[in-house]
């Protein structure tokens, strides 16, 4: 598996389709990131924050009642919901905040859908004394209102985005416009493995700790690897985070779960790899939900974090290379999985990984007793109580 982009691309995908104004900043970021990656002092500092601030390593949990419910295959959950602030997003935000400090940038900005990335960035801004602005669509501010309150308490400025679909896509566009305007003083902390190079590679490198830990933890149970690793895919950061460690394990099936919303055939979904074709959005060439004219299509998912028409370029590469299987799970199944996991395990998952949990159940029934499934439980579900109760 090619794991390092060549000239900013994973195969055909990726690149830097941004206004000229940003090219210098991307070049600087790439340089600073590679320097930091090779710097033992930086790695030590990052490890310290991972341990004491994020709460890593996160546990690997044997979901025995879910296993029994789905016919006996072993289901393990990688507990990213136990990260400080409640999702894997903080792994990336901490790393990028350290880079912002290294570059001498005193202001950070972010886009957010579910609000988890926004909360993570507001949190690191508080922790490291940075000024912070988070862009969020008005529709998402409504459905993830608890996270809006958290960001405000953390003293981040939350800017509402009322253009377009009023969700993650438009919040990202607004964040990029802010960056174009304030690039000299501001670092843009992108929340997933999307955007122009070097973001997809850098966010992957910061999130791969999920899979690195999980693989070791899994092996330590009985010396064997899982048959299948399942993760939800919005932009794709928790999925790349857990998949990367397993890419070379040829016998491990990797499954990425996109949001089928009301169903792929209804057109009301957010499954770019399953239902889109390659195009350019937010600086990268990757699978994209677009019409015949190249206009980006509105999306739908009950889960704000998956409600995005694009996907990270490395996923596009892994799809074409057939290393990862991508499938889509709809709103209803995700809500049912949310409720089931809450009821049987006492763990309330976010709606995003609830999509992966549903698929894990389907796979468990296929594999039967003896099957071995690892699921990335990317975040916790308190933020989604209103959405779920409304169904």
């Amino acid at each position: 598996m090619i794991k390092h982009p060549v000239r900013g691309r994973f195969g055909l995908y990726g690149g830097q389709y941004v206004p000229e104004t940003l090219m210098g900043a991307l070049e600087e970021l790439e340089g600073v990131w590679h320097e930091a990656k090779a710097d033992a002092q930086f790695q030590l500092e990052l490890a310290g924050h991972r341990h004491a601030f994020i709460g890593r390593p996160t546990p690997l949990y044997a979901a025995s009642r879910l296993s029994a419910h789905f016919g006996g295959a072993h289901i393990h959950l990688k507990r990213e919901d136990l990260c400080h602030t409640g999702a894997h997003k903080l792994n990336n935000a901490v790393g990028q905040a350290l880079l912002a400090l290294r570059m001498g940038k005193k202001r950070v900005i972010a886009e957010t859908g579910a609000g988890q990335h926004g909360v993570a960035v507001a949190t690191v801004a508080a922790r490291f004394g940075l000024e912070c602005t988070v862009y969020m669509g008005t529709e998402d501010m409504r459905r993830q209102s608890m996270n809006v309150r958290r960001m405000k308490l953390l003293e981040a400025e939350v800017k509402e985005v009322a253009s377009g679909t009023k969700t993650l896509k438009d919040a990202t566009s607004e964040a990029i416009r802010d960056w174009v305007t304030n690039v000299r003083t501001t670092h843009y902390i992108i929340g997933s493995v999307v955007g122009p190079h070097p973001y997809p590679e850098m966010v992957r490198d910061l999130q791969r700790v999920i899979g690195d830990e999980a693989r070791e933890q899994y092996l330590s149970v009985d010396g064997k690897l899982p048959d299948v690793v399942v993760a939800c895919v919005g932009g794709g950061s928790n999925a790349i985070g857990i998949f990367t460690a397993f890419l070379d394990d040829k016998d491990v099936l990797l499954v990425g779960v996109e949001a089928a919303g009301s169903g792929i055939r209804t057109g009301k979904h957010a499954a770019s790899l399953v239902g889109g074709r390659p195009g350019v959005l937010h600086g990268a060439f990757s699978y994209l939900l677009q019409d015949g004219e190249g206009q980006v299509l509105p999306t739908h998912s009950i889960s704000a974090g998956l409600d995005y028409p694009g996907v990270g370029p490395e996923h596009s590469f892994l799809r074409d290379a057939e290393r990862v299987d991508y499938i889509a799970v709809g709103d209803k199944d995700a809500v049912a999985a949310f409720k089931l996991c809450t009821k049987l395990e006492g763990i309330m998952p976010a709606l995003e990984p609830a999509h992966a949990l549903h698929q894990a159940g389907v796979i468990a029934r296929e594999l039967g007793p003896g099957g071995r499934i690892l699921v990335c439980l990317s975040g916790r579900g308190d933020k989604d109580m209103d959405s779920v109760e409304g169904v």
């Binding site: 206004p19 090219m23 377009g164 174009v180 677009q290 004219e293 190249g294 206009q295």
Partner: protein, 256 residues
């Protein structure tokens, strides 16, 4: 390009600053934008820039975003933009199309280049296509005898400036502000130095754009730039249902 192109000839300051007007194809609707296009073409501007709408225009401020959204809601397509460009080009004015890379990719870049040339378009600007990403699209545009106009920004490093100027034909577009499109009351500090720096790297005409909207801006640009591009201020007039020509005439007066 060995032979000086049409844009290269008409955008060279000859004592006067040249004016380039921007409008969005299909804004506020197809019929009105054709009328507006013809009026602007005969208003005394040196060239007309026509935007092809895109759903997610990262380099544009609220005025042009809104114009693009309105055009799309009225069913504007790339094909209809070419029809508009062809009709306006009949007035004898060079047309530059400005759009984002995805509509070009979706249309098929080779076909896009051929149809643009067929419509009588002189050159293409793609604000999210830096020189590093420009091939093979730019190659096809050149093969269709279209000028490829690249942008220089205040944050562009000297070695990038060199390469941007080398890749450009027709003219070099100098983004004078660190930011997105949208009328601003004051021109940014350091603008003259930036334009001077670009001039050192190219023999092509240099057009200044982004934020430029007032007669006093024209006066300030005379002697530093060959041309000024005015977008949001004109689009805002069109959006209000006004005739943009009086605004253009006022700007032209300040160019002399």
């Amino acid at each position: 390009m060995s032979e000086a192109s049409k844009l290269d000839r008409v955008l060279r300051a000859d004592g006067d600053l040249k004016l380039v007007a921007y409008m969005m194809a299909g804004h506020p609707n197809k019929k009105r934008s054709l009328e507006v296009g013809k009026k602007l073409a005969t208003s005394g501007v040196a060239a007309l820039e026509i935007g092809i709408p895109f759903s997610d225009p990262l380099a544009d401020g609220p005025v042009i975003q809104h114009a693009g959204q309105t055009a799309l809601e009225h069913g504007m397509t790339v094909g209809a933009c070419f029809e508009l460009a062809a009709a306006v080009a009949e007035e004898g004015i060079p047309i530059v199309l400005m759009t984002y890379i995805n509509p070009i990719l979706a249309h098929d870049p080779r076909r896009f280049a051929a149809e643009a040339a067929q419509a009588g378009v002189a050159g293409i600007i793609v604000p999210d296509l830096p020189v590093e990403e420009s091939e093979p699209v730019a190659g096809w545009l050149r093969a269709a005898s279209l000028d490829t106009i690249f942008m220089v920004a205040p944050t562009t490093s000297p070695n990038r400036m060199e390469s941007i100027c080398e890749h450009s034909s027709g003219f070099v577009y100098c983004v004078t502000v660190t930011g997105i499109t949208g009328a601003r009351s004051d021109l940014p500090g350091g603008m003259k130095e930036l334009l001077g720096e670009v001039k050192k790297h190219t023999k092509l005409p240099v057009a200044a754009g982004f934020g430029i909207s007032r007669p006093e801006h024209m006066k300030a640009l005379r002697g530093s730039a060959d041309a000024a591009v005015v977008g949001s201020a004109i689009v805002a007039e069109i959006d209000k249902g006004n005739d943009p020509v009086p605004l253009v005439k006022g700007l032209l007066k300040a160019c002399r």
